[in-house]
């Protein structure tokens, strides 16, 4: 089966710093991959290169066989780690924008998810709390029938109830044939939904395997293995 995502010797430098240092890996369709690493390990840089928001210094990234561009953007649904919606926009106007630009966007599903939150679709984003803004962004992202969902720190900085809501929304709404890449350092919260885990340290892959294989090989949870791997790096 053709991988949905393929990175070949992918690297990004910021001056002398190797944010991502020549990594190669593939993601098969239908897999949920945890992109795990501490702050500064290169997760967001990698995600930005997948989305065409950063140009690699070397190597290449292919999404369904295409380099980042118009074709790849049609099939990737991306949730950044910060608020990206115009504060003057409303949920209604952002739905109209998504519907216009993404053929795979499902308007009814978006409104259905919103109705469960009880938020007025005509409320401007600037009037909403941080948690509600993040939920709205997640709803927009998960209302697409994309082939690849790329979620950058979707559960960082939110309360446990919102965290549960976010994880349920992801699992309950993604296209089962699609792949998901979830970047996080809060592993215990997401471990149960992951098929594969990719540990990133100083821009390099230190482990990429199925979550079950990692647990079987170490006799520990992925979270415990992560703590061991990154505790070593501190010594």
């Amino acid at each position: 089966m053709e991988p949905i995502l393929k990175c070949n010797n992918l690297g990004k430098n910021y001056g002398s710093i190797h944010a991502v240092d020549g990594i190669s890996f593939e993601v098969a369709p239908g897999r949920i991959v945890g992109l795990l690493g501490p702050n500064g390990s290169g997760k967001t840089t990698l995600i930005k290169m997948i989305n065409g928001l950063l140009k690699p210094t070397r190597g290449e990234v292919l999404i369904n066989g295409n380099r980042p561009g118009v074709e790849s953007k049609k099939i990737i649904s991306y949730l950044p780690d910060s608020n990206y919606l115009d504060p003057d926009m409303t949920f209604q106007s952002s739905v109209s924008l998504f519907k216009d630009f993404y053929e795979d966007f499902e308007e009814e599903r978006a409104y259905e998810m919103l109705s469960r939150l009880g938020i007025d679709p005509k409320a401007r984003f600037k009037t909403l709390s941080k948690g509600n803004k993040e939920k709205m962004q997640l709803i927009l992202t998960m209302s697409r029938q994309a082939k690849l969902y790329v979620l950058d720190e979707p559960i960082a900085g939110v309360d446990p109830a919102t965290r549960d809501y976010i994880l349920q929304t992801i699992i309950g709404n993604y296209n089962p044939q699609a792949s998901i890449i979830i970047s996080t350092h809060l592993i215990s919260d997401v471990e149960k939904i992951l098929d594969d885990v990719l540990f990133l340290k100083n821009g390099q892959i230190v482990l990429y395997n199925s979550a079950d294989a990692v647990r079987d090989a170490n006799g520990k949870s992925v979270d415990e293995v992560f703590r061991e791997v990154f505790a070593c790096s501190a010594n």
Binding site: L54, S82, L85, D86, L97, D100, F101
Partner: protein
Amino acid sequence: MFGKLIKHEFKNTWRYMLVINAAVVLLSLIGMLQMHLIKTSSSYFIQKMSTIYLVLYVVAIIALVVVTFFYLVGRFYKKMFTTEGYLMHTLPVTADQHIGSMLITDYVWWIEFSAVSMLCLFFCFFTEEVNWSEFSQVLTYVAGHVRITPEFVALILAMIISPAVMLLNVYCALALGQLFKTHRILGAVIMYILMYVVLSTISSNLLLGNVGGSSLMGKYFFTYEGGQGPEAFFDGMNSFLGSMGIYSFVSNLVVGAIYWFLTRFMIRNHLDIQ
């Protein structure tokens, strides 16, 4: 997709533009009333107050024009280079479509708002002064003496595209400001000044300097052998405007294209949203 980008740009900006246009019209209507009071009222106090209002009115119009310009180009900055770029740059559209859609929207609003502001100023200060039949006679006379030559058409085209080039100049400076790691708006200002200096140097050399044996100014303008009277004046103006027209049109096209490609290059290769 290009049409959809333009549609959403207008959708996101029309409210601000409606409010700002309404403000200019309202201020101008009050201004017209003040002008009328100055001419008809015998009260010293009313005359002074009306004069103060009119001074403030002109300042307010200039301020609104400046604010609107920064609002328009500020939107380009926000959409392309701040966190809103996470949405804009992951839409399935090209960098050219982004630049083109924002340029068209900003251009239309800028022309519309500039025209409304100038008309309002004109009507506020000159409505009661102008003898409209004489005014139309002057316009007819001028129109009758302007020769519609290719050079004249080039001048008109240059005037039409120059606001777009001005906008592209700012887009380009904002894009080049991304080369700075921090203080990117300050970086954009520095880039704008640098571009201004470079262009002014090239432009003045072309117009007045001795480039390739003759300057444009010397070649076209000073070679005119004029006579006397209004006919000679118009001949001189036609000759000058004609030669300036070609120069302005070509230089605007070339400079605009350079701004466009630099902006596109930066968006495609040096995007680094923070």
